[in-house]
């Protein structure tokens, strides 16, 4: 609610100034209570927030392995230099649907530059650890899943859309292999 827009108007009775002392006190008391309540009623509630992040399509290549648990798109602000840096991701998408050849993706992100957007595959029946994860491609600006990574810029209150990322189930790169490929 926008209180600066004059939604509330306090109207004092015409007798306010001319009334006797006791009545003035009563009126003041009530006015103070009203002002207090109006003040509290000035909270900012929820309002529409434009989406900020990236969206686009993933293009899967090859047969989905039977051992697949899930596949997600992950965003990194900087290119990882060593396996430990892989834990420093900015955000990851929901699980991508595997029964579709070209599923759409969407990922909310802070306004910033993102250096690497890999597609990460996880093996079934394995705990969530680097050993169970593989990289099957990343955003390159073109169709090659393992070409040099292309950075993207997310601007405030804006959606960077129409990105296409290719994921190749025939090439499941380990963390070390993926780091080697983006150097």
């Amino acid at each position: 609610m926008d209180c600066s827009g004059g939604v509330f108007h306090l109207r004092f009775p015409s007798t306010f100034l001319s009334s006797k002392k006791g009545h003035v006190r009563k009126h003041l008391f009530r006015a103070a209570a009203l002002v207090g309540l109006v003040g509290l009623a000035c909270s900012d509630g929820l309002e529409p927030v434009p989406f900020q992040g990236i969206s686009g399509t993933v293009s899967f290549v090859g047969e989905v392995p039977d051992s697949t648990d899930w596949v997600r798109l992950v965003a990194y602000r900087d290119l990882p230099q060593q396996p430990l840096d892989l834990l420093g991701f900015a955000a990851f998408s929901d699980t991508l649907p595997l029964g579709v050849q070209n599923p759409e993706f969407i990922l909310g992100l802070d306004a910033a530059r993102y250096a690497w957007l890999p597609i990460v595959w996880k093996r079934q029946d394995a705990p969530l650890s680097p050993e169970a994860l593989r990289v099957i491609g990343w955003y390159t600006g073109g169709s090659g899943p393992f070409d040099p990574p292309q950075p993207i810029e997310v601007e405030t209150n804006a959606e960077t859309g129409d990105l296409t990322v290719t994921g190749d189930f025939g090439q499941l790169l380990t963390a070390e292999e993926a780091l080697e490929a983006i150097r």
Binding site: K26, S43, V49, G108, L128
Partner: protein, 729 residues
């Protein structure tokens, strides 16, 4: 210590002197000073003793065992100025008296039964207690008991979970730290411990008592953070049929980008009750039906309720049988949709009235049944007993499309309570309680829980201006036949009456709560996270202290201020943990220690000869997890409630305002773009017009159409307009 000794000497000497005098009986009638109508439920107390009686529907009362001599009676009832009378009691005799009470909106206290397991005055309670009278329930056009409790100072709903002074937090209703009683009989669900607010017909609620602070010393587990006791109406003296019809619609959302339906969304309900008496036997029967389109996608609801109460009363015995059944079907909209989860999201970060496309067909069926039988017997003027048996079933099932989750929980309970006015200065309450719960669920498995408890409490009117209350309860809990926990919960309190219009209260007590079957054994998947059981979960404990004062300042202003402190040990909260294999999971765990402290201030005032009655309350909360220094999740720092009613002849205008500051912390979704945390700021407006006994009401709930949440990704109801008709014949 040297101050305590003479105090104790006085306490021991004065009562024995009084007891040596012999006793008599005071019988009388309480009348309205203006209309000469009987004043039912007025409390009549013999000053300087713990003797108390309550006027019946004819305004009549009988006080037995009154010490002989000149005795001062004090009378109190909400809506009337306190009254006094002096009587001369002869040993073995009966003195008759007629007392008039002056109507007045701002008075000292109301009758409550939940604080000490017998009817007493809220002003004589060592802990804070609030009472919601029937008229308030009707004025707010409440659909469920929850709608009426939401306006109680320091009470706040987080989702569907009631927090009293920040006690509960949020875990989808699981592990409530507030105990719901129906006429003193526990009614929390057997599997999750949640409160099902729809199990009671609002149309037959006489009053709702909200006890703030640990009630474990009398009620055991689940009463760690407070007690809500719903007192149902007794069968009427004359045949009475009540019909309540209600209908309305939701306004457009505050922003056009959020509109999701191309039609008006409405709701309607009807409740019918009929009650009458045949000599000593009386009964009422209720039936109700609700339809609601809901204000958000998949928010529709259908509810049917049936309930009855039967009473067989003689001069010494009262047998009460209560039964209720409620069946609901509703959409299981758990979370709003964020960009990409639903169609037509208008490229917004979140759509608060839409839900993810994949969840649109998720539905829940929930059936609840309960019954209790209470036999009360007055063995003599000073000794009474209360025996009860109860049964409750909660049966629910949620269809998530690819998965069906459900649970059936049965709770059998029994209690024998004895009350003894051992002397004019001493009232003893003791009893034993047992419960047996069985749960069969595909997300908890099959389990049983058995509880046994004994309690004793003494109320000592040691001096005319001082009442002490002390007692303890011992609880033992078995899970699947294995000894799980045993707890002693002592409590002590005092009420000082330094002046006729002043009450000072202080209390300290220990509370405990055994984890529910859901907290111990839940194994499922929620939002992609695995929820794992934790059978090493420990019971949680608290030490609650409170000091408060209630002061009637003038004939038009009373204030009540209280400071409170909870020390919590092994506090049970859902948390994320990594398994030894490194997988991130959710389970219920113990937070080693945490504290909640705060201040509550309430002012009640009236103007223009009680035509305008207003109440303003403020609560300050300071919570902290000792290990991390962080605030406890889902607790606001500031809460304000204000209510005002203006009556002009047949017309009544009223408003309710609720404010709670934004939480410092939530548990699950913390992205400020998709899960913003905002204050709660709600103003409800109401008007009523009376035609004799018939009333027509018009209400605008959330009149500012303020958009807010109490838990992540769940928008609270937007503005709605309701027309209600209450007919009696």
């Amino acid at each position: 210590m040297r101050h305590i000794v003479p105090f104790l000497v006085a306490a021991l000497c004065i009562p024995s002197t009084a007891r040596a005098q012999g006793t008599g009986t005071v019988a009388g009638r309480v009348l309205d000073a203006d209309s000469r109508a009987p004043v039912a439920t007025a409390a009549v107390r013999v000053k300087g003793t713990v003797l108390i009686a309550f006027a019946d529907h004819e305004g009549r009362f009988v006080l037995g065992g009154v010490p002989a001599g000149t005795r001062h009676l004090s009378l109190e009832r909400i809506g009337y100025a306190p009254g006094e009378a002096v009587v001369e009691v002869e040993s073995g005799g009966t003195v008759r008296v007629e007392i008039e009470l002056e109507p007045r909106a701002v008075a000292m206290g109301e009758i409550v039964a939940a604080v000490v397991k017998r009817s007493s005055l809220s002003t004589e309670s060592p802990v804070s207690v609030a009472v919601v009278e029937e008229e308030e329930v009707l004025r707010r056009v409440s659909e469920t008991v929850a709608d009426a409790v939401a306006y109680v100072p320091s009470a706040q709903f987080v989702g569907e979970q009631l927090n009293i002074r920040g006690s509960s937090g949020y875990a989808r209703g699981t592990g409530s730290r507030v105990l719901l009683l129906i006429d003193g009989v526990p009614a929390n669900a057997g599997d999750s411990g949640a409160i099902n607010w729809d199990v009671l017909p609002v149309i037959e609620v006489e009053r709702i008592e909200v006890v703030k602070g640990a009630g474990s010393a009398l009620y055991g587990s689940a009463a760690l953070g407070g007690v809500v006791n719903v007192v149902t109406a007794r069968p009427p003296e004359q045949p009475l049929t009540k019909l309540r019809l209600r209908g309305g619609f939701y306004d457009d959302p505050p922003f056009p980008e959020w509109i999701w339906a191309n039609q008006t969304l409405g709701y309607a309900s009807g409740e019918l009750t009929h009650g009458r008496r045949f000599g000593d036997f009386g009964a009422w029967v209720q039936a109700g039906q609700w339809f609601d389109d809901g204000y958000r996608q998949a928010g529709n609801l259908e509810r049917t309720t049936l309930s009855t109460q039967m009473e067989l009363a003689s001069s010494r015995d009262t047998l009460t049988v209560f039964g209720s059944w409620a069946s609901e079907r509703y959409g299981s909209a758990l979370l709003w949709c964020i960009r990409g989860e639903c169609r037509d999201d208008s490229n917004l970060a979140y759509q608060p009235l839409r839900i993810p496309t994949s969840a649109r067909d998720d539905r829940t069926r929930s059936d609840k049944a309960r019954a209790h039988l209470i036999h009360e017997r007055r063995w003599s003027e000073s000794f009474n007993s209360r025996l009860r048996f109860s049964y409750q079933r909660n049966d629910w099932e949620t269809d998530f499309g690819d998965e069906l989750l459900g649970s059936v929980a049965d709770v059998f309970g029994s209690e024998l309570q004895l009350g003894w006015q051992a002397a004019s200065w001493l009232y003893l309450i003791g009893g034993g309680e047992g419960s047996y719960t069985t749960v069969e669920a595909n997300l908890f498995g099959g389990h049983d829980m058995t509880g046994a408890a004994g309690y004793l409490q003494a109320e000592l009117g040691v001096l005319p201006w001082l009442t002490l209350t002390t007692g303890a309860r011992y609880d033992r809990v078995w899970v699947d036949g294995t000894d799980y926990a045993d707890e002693l919960s002592p409590r002590a309190g005092l009420v000082l009456r330094p002046h006729r219009y002043t009450r000072i209260r202080a209390s300290a007590g220990r509370g405990f709560r055994a984890p529910t079957v859901a907290e111990l054994f839940t194994a499922t998947e929620v939002g992609g996270f695995l929820v794992i059981p934790n059978d090493s979960l420990l019971p949680e404990r608290s030490i609650t202290t409170e000091v408060g004062i209630r002061q009637l300042l003038t004939s038009w202003l009373s204030v009540d201020v209280a400071g409170f402190h909870y020390d919590l040990d092994n506090y049970i909260e859902p948390d994320t943990v990594a398994t030894p294999e490194g997988e991130v999971t959710i389970r219920f765990g113990n937070v080693p220690s945490a504290s909640i402290r705060g201040i509550e201030a309430i002012a009640l005032t009236s103007f223009f000869r009680d035509r305008l009655i207003a109440r303003v309350a403020y609560t300050y909360l300071d919570t902290e997890e000792d290990a991390t220094g962080q605030a406890l999740a889902y607790r606001p720092t500031h809460m304000v409630t204000a209510a005002g009613t203006f009556t002009l002849g047949r017309l009544e205008l009223s408003a309710d305002y609720r404010y709670a500051s934004a939480y410092d912390r939530v548990k699950v979704f913390t992205n400020p773009r998709t899960d913003p945390i905002v204050p709660q700021d709600v103003l409800d407006l109401r008007a009523a017009y009376r035609f004799g006994e018939q009333v027509i009401r018009f209400t605008v709930d959330n009149s500012l159409n303020y958009a807010y949440t109490t838990i992540e990704r769940n928008l609270e109801p937007i503005r709605r307009y309701t027309l209600s008709l209450e007919l009696q014949f």
